[in-house]
Symmetry: C2
Subunit: 215 residues, 2 copies
């Protein structure tokens, strides 16, 4: 009967939403709120306050009934749950147009992510520094990733190289991959892959955006 009451089944979607709550809380924090209600937190998100409280309940919550939540405490709590309370090193593999755009993406820093290295196989790019990140030879990936203890990678190589590079990443100790290559990665259990497949997303959108055209 420890404080972890029933972690036996936490919905995946709950985990995904925690990041959104964190973003909302940061915004409220900047606006100098110190205590907020569940409705305030979810008011800018397309999420009900019921859903928010339910999500929080899986982790043992810290609200005060009749009052709300301490912004600072809840941020720390969510950061700890997600594992982003300390700096989180990530690498970018494949410094093409998309990869280099991600090197410059400002949204990572706010959540304790830091891109510590980038890799490519193009001699013309290796050794250069983009957005404060040095582009390394992909042949040196294992050494760099191991020595820095990197656990997360953003994969932006061409589709036909993705599987091979992903396997190498896993061999170096990487445990999570944000995959922008439009191909499915086949990796051992325990390695987490999140596919960001823009063509598929667009098709998904197309389907819905064409419904009810009569209206």
């Amino acid at each position: 009967m420890s404080k972890k009451k029933k972690d036996y089944r936490i919905p995946q979607e709950t985990i995904r939403r925690l990041g959104l709550y964190l973003r909302s809380l940061r915004k409220l924090q900047q606006q100098n709120f110190t205590v907020v209600s569940s409705s305030q937190i979810t008011s800018h998100l397309n999420i009900t306050s019921d859903q928010f409280r339910k999500d929080l309940s899986y982790f043992g919550s810290l609200g005060k009934r009749g009052v709300g939540y301490s912004v600072d405490k809840l941020i720390k709590h969510l950061e700890r749950v997600l594992g982003v309370d300390a700096e989180c090193k990530i690498i970018v593999v494949g410094v093409g147009k998309l990869g280099s755009a991600l090197l410059a993406y400002p949204g990572f820093q706010n959540f304790n992510f830091r891109i510590v290295a980038a890799f490519d196989n193009d001699i013309g790019k290796i050794g250069r520094v983009w957005e404060g990140v040095k582009i390394e030879n992909i042949l040196n990936m294992e050494e760099v990733v191991r020595s820095l203890g990197v656990k997360l990678a953003i994969l932006t190589v061409p589709a036909d190289a993705a599987q091979q590079v992903a396997e190498k990443l896993v061999a170096c100790g990487v445990r999570g991959i944000l995959n922008f290559a439009p191909t499915n990665l086949n990796l051992p259990r325990g390695i987490y892959v999140l596919n960001v497949d823009m063509a598929t997303e667009l098709m998904f959108l197309t389907y819905f955006s064409r419904k009810n055209l009569a209206g």
Copy 2:
């Protein structure tokens, strides 16, 4: 009792997977397969063949029992269901680093998407042609979008401009938005928004990639 047997409830996830099936079928088509089984189609995806057949069943399927599916026919069928059987015009709004990377993204063309225009408010960019797409003044967006009849937009403007720009897009007739700005868009019912929030996705990954660290 028409052919649409029970579209009363098609899972959203089914729609999302149709795009993946399409990608798999294209690959098989290139390998000169003309008839394939559900297992072949899903073998490169992390999806069971049961799931595939169930998904297809919502639309009235065209397999032959004991044989499989005609690759060409199934591709046409899925394209029609998704609404990507004819060329689908899209625009990119916000030609920063991410926006210009997406202008060059090769994966759209294979699925009949064509970026017909891009918009920015930076005088230095307006009038230039990147990746074969002319950058237009965002002030002219309404005119261009209306005259071309564009229904889909990729939004890559800064977060604090996103809501305002999105509203303008809707006013121009856009019905679906692929939103890369890390903010929630509040738009009328009937407008579909798909958020691609990279920091949130990374946090999601972080959570899972830290589980079972003892193993």
